[in-house]
């Protein structure tokens, strides 16, 4: 049984609940958008890296950041 008094909050629920919902919807939306952009960029980076010649790809793998991107993406 839902305790409606908790939801109603003496009449202030109409202000309190939307405040929390707005906050969490904005935060969740921002997180999902950022996560999607990161995954896409990692994917594009790997795609472009793979289109390099073997020698260039080996040189790229020696760079710390590129190596980390390749490893972190393969983990996911």
């Amino acid at each position: 049984m839902i305790n409606f008094e908790i939801l109603f909050m003496n009449g202030y629920g109409v202000y309190v609940w939307p405040s929390f919902i707005f906050t969490f919807v904005i935060c969740l939306g921002f997180y999902l958008k950022t996560n999607k952009a990161l995954k896409k960029l990692e994917k594009d980076f790997i795609k472009e890296a793979e289109s390099l010649s073997k020698q260039e790809f080996e040189n790229l793998k020696k760079q710390k950041i590129a190596k980390e991107i390749l490893v972190s993406h393969s983990k996911n």
Partner: protein, 233 residues
């Protein structure tokens, strides 16, 4: 010291911290919500409307903290031309803007039951709105000005002008007669808020800080990969 400012060192570190932040964030958010919505007491004047404080106040604080930090980084970047600084402030600005919007929206929702109005051109609210415009101008500057030197100059100018606005936000409740009450939580002076409300406020602040760290780390990786990707072409 130089090692810690190296983009590859920071990038490597972001990967490790990211997993740590992801592990802690959900339990802390849940605890924060339980405390702020159910366990904390209602205010003797505002009643349950005071619960809006637990999202409004941390959001406003983080918004100010982000702008203050990015202003400092802009100045450092402008003087010393450190590559990783621009990556950091580009990652911070969208977070600050998000929390600024949250603070304005939740402030409006808090204003209606306590002051009887959704919006008032009071000094604190107006200066927070101006901060939002500073954030927008800052983000547009680094996004659309292609020349890095010009972009850096304009970003530094905007951030310095915004810094004056930060001082106005902080002291607006003292300098002018506003609807907002003076600060209840002080790092240097006396904190007048009761411990039963201070704990949920701190937990929510921690949750928001962790969320900011999470987004910051992801944004930092995005900006770094973007730079690396350009180097591939």
């Amino acid at each position: 010291m130089i090692k810690y400012l190296n983009p590859s060192y920071i990038f490597n570190l972001t990967g490790k911290i990211l997993s740590l932040v992801k592990f802690f964030i959900i339990p802390i958010v849940i605890v924060g919500i339980i405390f702020s919505l159910f366990l904390s007491p209602e205010d003797y004047i505002q009643g349950d409307a005071v619960r809006i404080m637990y999202v409004h106040v941390p959001a406003a604080w983080i918004s100010l903290l982000c702008f203050g930090t990015l202003s400092l980084l802009c100045v450092i970047n402008f003087i010393f031309k450190i590559k990783s600084m621009s990556l950091i402030f580009k990652s911070l600005a969208p977070i600050g803007l998000t929390f600024n919007i949250i603070a304005i929206l939740t402030g409006s929702l808090w204003g209606q039951p306590t002051w009887g109005t959704w919006w008032a051109w009071d000094a604190r609210i107006t200066s927070m709105l101006i901060l939002m415009f500073f954030y927008i101008a800052f983000i547009l500057s680094y996004k659309f000005i292609k020349d890095p030197l010009n972009s850096s100059k304009i970003c530094t100018l905007i951030s310095l002008a915004g810094l004056i606005n930060l001082v106005i936000i902080k002291y607006s409740v003292i300098w002018w007669s506003t609807l907002h009450q003076p600060a209840s939580v002080n790092l240097t002076g006396e904190t007048t808020i009761h411990i039963s409300m201070l704990i949920p406020l701190c937990v929510m602040l921690l949750a928001f800080l962790l969320y900011s760290a999470l987004i910051f780390l992801m944004k930092y990786r995005i900006e770094t990969i973007r730079v690396k990707k350009k180097g591939l072409k």
